[in-house]
Symmetry: C2
Subunit: 254 residues, 2 copies
């Protein structure tokens, strides 16, 4: 079937990796593809940190809530918003950089995230598997310390990378119509929410998930267990503090 | 040559599009691919607004500094961080969402940006061309108004999309070694900056660019003309105001 052969449509997140190494050639291909990604004004205001040493993986693991993939994957890539390199270049060329502000952080974060996704697709196109680590923004301060990131550099996402050692089912998604709006945003009424979330809510794994967590609805598993308000508030403060510390919230002085 | 046949390595931004329409089948393929992109906790906290009507393109054009691609491309896609849909679902399922904070904005922006890049690669894999519109974060308030985006929804990037009507040269990039760090960030000394930027600075188009703008160095074209401190500070304030208005800066109440 056509769909099954298209890696963009058949992809799955991979959390278990075989012992097979990611060769230098494979890694170089992924990085070569990543740097062809669009970047604002061709400034390339991001950096990629490659982790292959087991000692570094062990140090990074707690910053990623000790998710097993971090120590088990052959390669980890951390994608950082980076105005340090560009600003250093400016200063060495009689130009005064003005990138110590929130807009510039967003610009650099966008560069980093688009490059990250190209890296993932490049890896998947060769049969490798990836898993994103959402913990990167939660624990950015620890990651900065471990990876030695200077002012002007903030990690925004990370992935583990390797050859798959599991063959899981593709996870469910909302229908495309739930996510896509034609011409204008059409806000969701109760009937639309019911329609779009019905498939997800009726899945066996969702029902099991609710029971395991002692909740009444799947939504409660998200709000009360997985993505809690108190945690979000805590990590919001720590990420904003990271932006201040790394020099991206100087709106007054730029 | 192998490299030339790999769309990830040979890609170029396309700003001029032919009259050929982007068919529904092509657009659906792009959107189907985009929604298979990794998303935090499978929450899919983003939305994609499709613009094909010429009236809507004309309204959006000023928000994108009247860049010609906006009115000339057959399709424009605006990618938005969106916790509105998810939070509505929670409220209808006896769950209290806690996503009105900066961390949740970052989570949703990451979802939107990764999906955007998959859409671009899907389009390019079929021979179409894309151009990112960095203006999206600058003028988010206007885009919110035009696209009717409710509280909880913030545009983070947009692309124009169509069949190429130009065959430009691939732009230069810094050497991969300039962007990639092994194990730890190795900060740049003057020799490293000179080495990595030498290629870019010696290009004919860079030299012409400096002359056209009456500057002494290429870096000055960026700091004094293209990405100015005063503009960055102005757009930082307006984007932070958008985050407040759309309900993403309620750290205290979450």
């Amino acid at each position: 079937m056509k769909l099954k052969n298209d890696p963009l449509l058949s992809r799955k997140t991979i959390r278990k990796y075989s012992d097979k190494e990611v060769s230098d050639a494979d890694l170089n291909y992924i990085l070569d593809a990543a740097i062809r990604t669009s970047t604002t004004g061709n400034m390339q205001v991001y950096s990629i940190i490659v982790t292959r040493e087991s000692g570094m993986k062990a140090r990074l693991a707690p910053a990623h809530f000790n998710q097993k993939m971090v120590t088990e994957a052959p390669v980890m890539l951390t994608f950082c918003a980076d105005f340090n390199r560009f600003s250093k270049w400016c200063r060495l060329r009689e130009a005064e950089p003005g990138y110590g502000n929130f807009l510039s952080f967003m610009t650099a974060a966008i560069d980093a995230l688009l490059a990250a996704q190209t890296a993932c697709i490049a890896a998947e196109s060769k049969g490798m598997g990836i898993c994103y680590l959402g913990t990167t923004t939660y624990m950015a301060d620890k990651i900065i310390e471990i990876l030695n990131l200077p002012r002007g550099v903030v990690p925004v996402t990370a992935i583990t990378l390797g050859w798959p050692a599991e063959d899981t089912e593709q996870v469910d998604r909302l229908p495309v119509a739930a996510v896509v709006h034609n011409e204008r945003y059409h806000d969701y009424d109760e009937a639309a929410i019911d329609l779009y979330y019905r498939g997800k809510e009726s899945r066996d794994d969702s029902i099991r998930f609710i029971a395991e967590n002692g909740k009444k609805t799947l939504a409660q598993v998200f709000t009360d267990v997985r993505y809690k308000k108190a945690d979000n508030i805590h990590f919001s403060e720590s990420f904003l503090e990271v932006l201040r510390k790394q020099g991206f919230m100087g709106q007054k002085e730029g």
